[in-house]
């Protein structure tokens, strides 16, 4: 049976007359890295704020580790670690002192976890240096360390790579992969940097203007983003036969409108067009196509009309 870490049931949030979230049904499976994609103001942070208890939904239910009443949710939040809109640090304290404060906050016995957590994020040598003097990358890593204290099963990271330099981004990505693979931590990560999410996430949720447009796995996304040759001819059935017999491939798809998606011969499209033309087919459209996550996202949100 699939185990869900987080499920939201028709969650809506309204501020005065503005509907910020509209009946969002989001599901995150245990062990996944869920990339939460959306423009500024799409509702990502609002949903994260509802899940973490910073605000209450106007309608709908939040289910965290299978718990959904208020008291149970408070208890369930002990099993999560968060970075919400930037790392929450006491600037006049050192990295170890910040972790000590959060250890006490979470009621974790023993101080051993502090050194262990600092080692995981590579901040074990920062000594008494105050966090206000840390670089942005160090602050983000410390933010993740704070989220990690108490061995959470679920990490909620709102824009954890914002403002990082390329090396910092790589460091955080590798760290999150390690946490997911080695420690089995489920991660919800929201980011504007879609190319980065593409290297990390196993599942995606696309939110736009408060509506969750789509949830898909990385395989589904790759399939949707797959490169192909878009072909439209006067006789698609015959074209399909020619593709199989003359071009000797079955890696194609005929869509209901007669358009053919050919997933082979991407390097030699001329051979395809010549073969089809030689067989007397009239070519109406012929072009290589495909999307990356960014263009898929842009197309996805561009295709939605709101009244």
């Amino acid at each position: 049976m699939v185990e869900y870490v987080l499920r939201t049931h028709s969650v809506s949030k309204q501020y005065k007359h503005q509907l910020v979230l509209n009946k969002v049904n989001l599901t995150i499976k245990k062990g996944s890295i869920y990339g939460f994609i959306g423009q500024n103001g799409a509702g990502k942070s609002t949903l994260i704020r509802l899940v973490t208890g910073l605000a209450c939904p106007t309608m709908g239910k939040i289910e965290l580790f299978g718990q959904n009443n208020e008291r149970e949710l408070i208890e369930a939040r002990k099993r999560i670690g968060t970075i919400i809109e930037g790392p929450a640090l006491y600037p006049h304290l050192s990295a170890a002192e910040n972790l000590e404060a959060h250890r006490l906050l979470k009621g974790i016995p023993g101080k051993e976890c502090i050194q262990k957590t600092l080692e995981i994020v590579g901040l074990q040598d920062t000594g008494k240096k105050k966090t206000k003097n840390f670089s942005l990358g160090m602050k983000q890593r410390l933010g993740i360390a704070i989220a990690l204290i108490g061995d959470p099963e679920f990490l909620i990271l709102d824009e954890p790579i914002n403002g990082l330099d390329p090396m910092g981004v790589v460091e955080i990505r590798e760290l999150l992969k390690k946490l997911n693979h080695e420690y089995g931590i489920t991660i919800l990560i929201s980011s504007h940097i879609l190319s980065e999410l593409h290297l990390l996430a196993t599942h995606y949720g696309i939110i736009h203007k408060g509506e969750l447009l789509e949830q898909l796995t990385v395989n589904e996304l790759n399939k949707k983003c797959q490169q192909y040759i878009h072909i439209k001819v006067d006789n698609p059935d015959r074209a399909a036969t020619i593709i199989e017999t003359r071009l000797e491939t079955t890696h194609y798809e005929v869509l209901p409108d007669g358009t053919i998606k050919l997933f082979r011969y991407l390097d030699t499209p001329g051979k395809v067009s010549k073969t089809l033309s030689d067989e007397g087919l009239i070519m109406e459209q012929f072009m290589p196509m495909g999307e990356d996550l960014e263009s898929y996202f842009a197309n996805r949100i561009g295709g939605v009309h709101h009244g």
């Binding site: 208890g53 369930a76 099993r79 790392p87 640090l89 404060a101 906050l105 009621g107």
Partner: protein, 251 residues
Amino acid sequence: MDNLLKFEFFKLRKDRSFWTLVYGLIASAAFYPMLIFFNDGAFSSELVSVKELYTYTALGGNNYIVRLVPCIQAGFFISSEYSIGTMKSMTASGNSRFRLFSSKLLVFSIGAAIISLIFPIVITGITAIFSGFNDMPELSYFVRTIGLTILYASAFSAIMALVAIIFTDSGKTIGFLILFFILFDSILYALSQKFSLFETIFNYSVFKLFLDISKPNIGNGEFLKLLLVPVMTFIVIGLIGSFVFQRKEIK
């Protein structure tokens, strides 16, 4: 709750604004008796009555300290948690907001109580040493006034914590609280002169009763009133603060 109290104490111990206030007050309190002892360039402490100095200078001067100095602490200790983002991690930590606010209020009150005791204790201590323990206040009077000072400091700190939890900016909190504590009792007093309802409110308010704690002779009924009003204020305002915090969206 135990872990939250430890968490708040840890922060108080590491809070530089708190220690700056404490050291500043200790230095002022230590310096103040010297102004009395050094007269025309000569040191004379023989005629100084510790009792009088304690009653009028230490407790009288402490009136402003108890009501104004912890306002600064409220801004830095409570409101600043919003701006640095730690209020979010606290709220998302799996602790109920009632417990979060209660522990914050308790530890903040202890901080305010420490601040409120510096002036009377340091001034009295130094004066006693230099004057050779001349005309010391009675122990029962000293204990009673110190105890009541702690209670009133706690009652005021509940009001400060309520404001600090509403305002999410330390500057706004400090500014509002200082103005409030400077003006509110005068406004309440003015209203009490015109309306009997406000007269009752004023007479049973911590703002009025705090001025009575240094009275040398207090009857049992009055003492009970001096004792109960700050306790009730602390509980009622604390519950209101908790209610407000539970409904507040943390930004």
